[in-house]
């Protein structure tokens, strides 16, 4: 069968079109393989940002032609219809009608549909074709359709829709020539034989059924492998066990497999820092570079491998189709906290780092569930809290066996802190979901896609994109904050030199906030640590090391001894609880602002977590 029907004359010398295409939008229902196709067409020439004013991601990319012309592709969110009920649908509709200020309306549309379920997928064709924008209907998953014995008459479908139709497999890169041809030459506005009344969904479905019937569509046999795998993954016993296994594996690998890579980055940061230190003469600039830039940004960069590994796992789980099953299995448990199954993976990820966790909440379509998940994610005990916990616990708690050789007092204390964070998250979720974020009663519905092999290209591009987002933030917000904190610790200059930290601005700040933190049992030195740890939690270890004039190292005996002198046991517990609850992390604040599209939520979150931290620490200091 021909792979393109009604396409602009392939092979014939292409006359330059009167008005060449500049912007082309990709539209399609979720799971139609739209993003895979977008990646295939644009490769590395793509950019990810947000649509102005909303949290919907905007992917744009370029397709270049030999004559030097370029077409910009916009990958729109997956939607089932254009009735603007969700933010995704609103954005899709606004882009297509040219209503968005920063995005010109597209000159043409690629409508991506899953060819293995054509009759239902065609429902989206009705509102798209009625826009009267030149449209190429791309039937994706040709390999699946063929493999499972389905078929259709492309000519007939093109005639019914009054628009060119191409049958492709985006994953295999098969049959894409008609797409390039279309992007080069475009086509006229679609002339469908008939269109249904768009407001009436049953009418749309009947129309779609008629069109696919008249196109000789033979639906393929049910996906055998998907049924087989689901019999395992959704088995009453094997299903939850597999789920648990996957969760433990991800969790374990996040810490073990990432460790050597993180050590590698730590080594590179330290080595390059030493090199800079050796090359530059002793000067405030060198101090700024070493302590400010290298110390601050370096300590955040270390998390890059963990973040990338996490997104690799999420990518594999999502692209393979297992994530939908995992969300299904986790749904009931999460529902008890007022959340839903899709919140599970982000919350799990938050044990590594809240930043990628918050970025990964994008898989949650329900806005309120997504915001609730974002708000509670920082309560999960991230790896940046570990050095702080280790230092305090080691300084104040002798390690005695508690339950045989398996559990010592220190490990138990650490586990207790993990539980504390989890408990705070659950309680907060319940409060949020029964008040401000009470779900708008949108029923939970989750389409189970067929299982597919993830493609290297999609995984690679996703990792590259996340790395860029993270590095851009490390290079801007985090850099600015760490340099600012460095300045606080090194100004005002005394006789042209940095003052001892007690007399620096940070020291002054520490003394200023001392009255506020004294009820918690903290002195001004801890106060400075609290201020500097806003950059990243573990920075407090280095700061305390500097203040006490010792190596900043969680395992340093002398630092532990100094802390024992300065903190009562009650204050030590208070400090632990403070770090369990407080949102001491600029990167998280920055990413929450980006993902929620404003300062409102991060401000509420920061105030709430800090208040909780103060309250918890106050109680601990007075009760212990």
């Amino acid at each position: 069968m021909s792979l393109c029907a009604g396409c602009p004359s392939a092979g014939a010398p292409a006359a330059p079109p009167a008005s060449p295409l500049r912007t082309v939008a990709l539209v399609g229902p979720p799971n139609s393989g739209k993003s895979t196709l977008f990646n295939k067409l644009t490769g590395l020439r793509q950019k990810v940002g947000n649509f102005p004013g909303v949290t919907v991601e905007r992917h744009t990319g370029q397709v270049f032609f030999p004559d030097g012309r370029a077409v910009t592709l916009i990958d729109l969110p997956g939607v089932y219809s254009l009735s603007p009920r969700s933010e995704d649908e609103q954005v899709t509709r606004d882009v297509l009608t040219g209503a968005l200020p920063d995005t010109p309306g597209p000159d043409a549309i690629l409508l991506i549909l899953d060819s293995t379920n054509l009759a239902r997928q065609l429902m989206l064709a009705a509102p798209i074709l009625s826009l009267r924008i030149p449209t190429l209907v791309v039937l994706n998953m040709a390999d699946d359709l063929r493999g499972r014995g389905g078929s259709l008459d492309l000519e007939a479908l093109a005639a019914q829709l009054g628009a060119p139709v191409a049958l492709v497999s985006a994953r295999q890169g098969e049959g894409l020539e008609p797409l390039f041809e279309f992007l080069r030459n475009s086509a006229g506005a679609p002339q469908p034989r008939e269109l249904p009344v768009l407001q009436e969904i049953p009418k749309c479905r009947q129309w779609a059924g008629r069109v696919s019937h008249r196109s000789g569509y033979h639906p393929p046999a049910p996906p055998l492998w998907t049924r087989r795998l689901d019999a395992l993954f959704l088995h009453p016993v094997a299903g939850p066990l597999t789920f648990l296994g996957v969760v433990l594996l991800v969790f374990q690998l996040l810490f073990t497999a990432a460790a050597p890579l993180m050590d590698g980055i730590r080594f590179l940061v330290a080595a390059s820092g030493r090199w800079v230190e050796a090359v530059l003469p002793a000067s405030p600039l060198r101090s700024l570079l070493i302590e400010g830039v290298w110390g601050g940004v370096g300590s955040v960069l270390v998390f890059l491998p963990q973040i990338l590994l996490l997104f690799l796992f999420i990518g594999v789980l999502e692209d393979s189709g297992y994530l939908a099953r995992a969300a299904l299995i986790a749904d009931r448990t999460m529902a008890r906290f007022g959340l839903q199954g899709k919140s599970f993976i982000p919350l799990l990820s938050a044990y590594a780092c809240a930043v990628p966790a918050i970025l990964s909440t994008r898989t949650i379509e329900n806005k309120r569930d997504r915001v609730a998940t974002i708000l509670i994610a920082p309560f999960m005990t991230c790896s940046a809290r570990l050095p702080v916990y280790t230092l305090i616990i080691a300084a104040f708690l002798p390690n005695r066996p508690l339950a045989g050789a398996f559990l010592g007092t220190r490990a138990a204390a650490l586990l207790g802190l993990y539980a504390l964070g989890f408990g705070a998250a659950v309680a907060t979720a319940r409060i949020l979901k029964s008040s401000v974020l009470k779900s708008e009663r949108t029923p939970f519905m989750l389409e189970m896609p067929s299982y597919r092999w993830p493609t290297f290209q999609s995984l690679g591009l996703r990792l590259l994109d996340r790395a860029k987002v993270f590095l851009r933030r490390a290079g801007t917000v985090i850099l600015a904050v760490t340099v600012g904190l460095w300045a606080l610790a090194h100004l005002p200059l005394q006789e042209g030199k940095a003052p001892p930290i007690e007399q620096s601005l940070a020291g002054t700040l520490g003394r200023t906030i001392e009255p506020a933190i004294r009820p918690l049992g903290f002195n001004w030195k801890i106060g400075i640590g609290l201020v500097t740890s806003l950059a990243a939690r573990e920075v407090i270890v280095g700061t305390l090391g500097t203040i006490y004039g010792m190596e900043g190292d969680a395992h340093s005996q002398s630092l532990q001894q100094s802390l024992q002198k300065d903190l009562t046991p009650g204050a030590a517990v208070a400090l632990l609880i403070f770090f369990a609850f407080a949102m001491q992390c600029i990167s998280t604040i920055a990413v929450v602002r980006r993902e929620t599209g404003g300062w409102r939520w991060p401000a509420i979150q920061f105030s709430y977590m800090t208040a909780l931290a103060f309250l918890g620490a106050f109680l601990a200091n007075h009760l212990v």
Binding site: R85, R120, I201, L328, P443, M445, E447
Partner: protein
Amino acid sequence: MLQLSVNKRRSDAHRGPALTDLRRGEAGVLDRLDLPEEDARRLMELGFLPGSRITAALSAPGGDPRVFEVDGSEVALRRETAARLKLRFEPGSPGMVPNP
């Protein structure tokens, strides 16, 4: 082969059988969606149209949420939602039929 006795099952007795009354492998014909207009439209876009044939498939442990086969795709719904999707039920010719 699956003879159904709808009334014994857990359902909103006064409102008739719903998707929640289907056991795994059983199919029924959707009659109406007892949901607010917006939510009903969303489900209809996924294929839950009155008159369409819906088959109960696998579920999460405990039976909630459950996957339903509808219009060529598989969609998971929570019990609270499935309970409001009512099945066509006519005395003498039950709307529920075993999946062929």
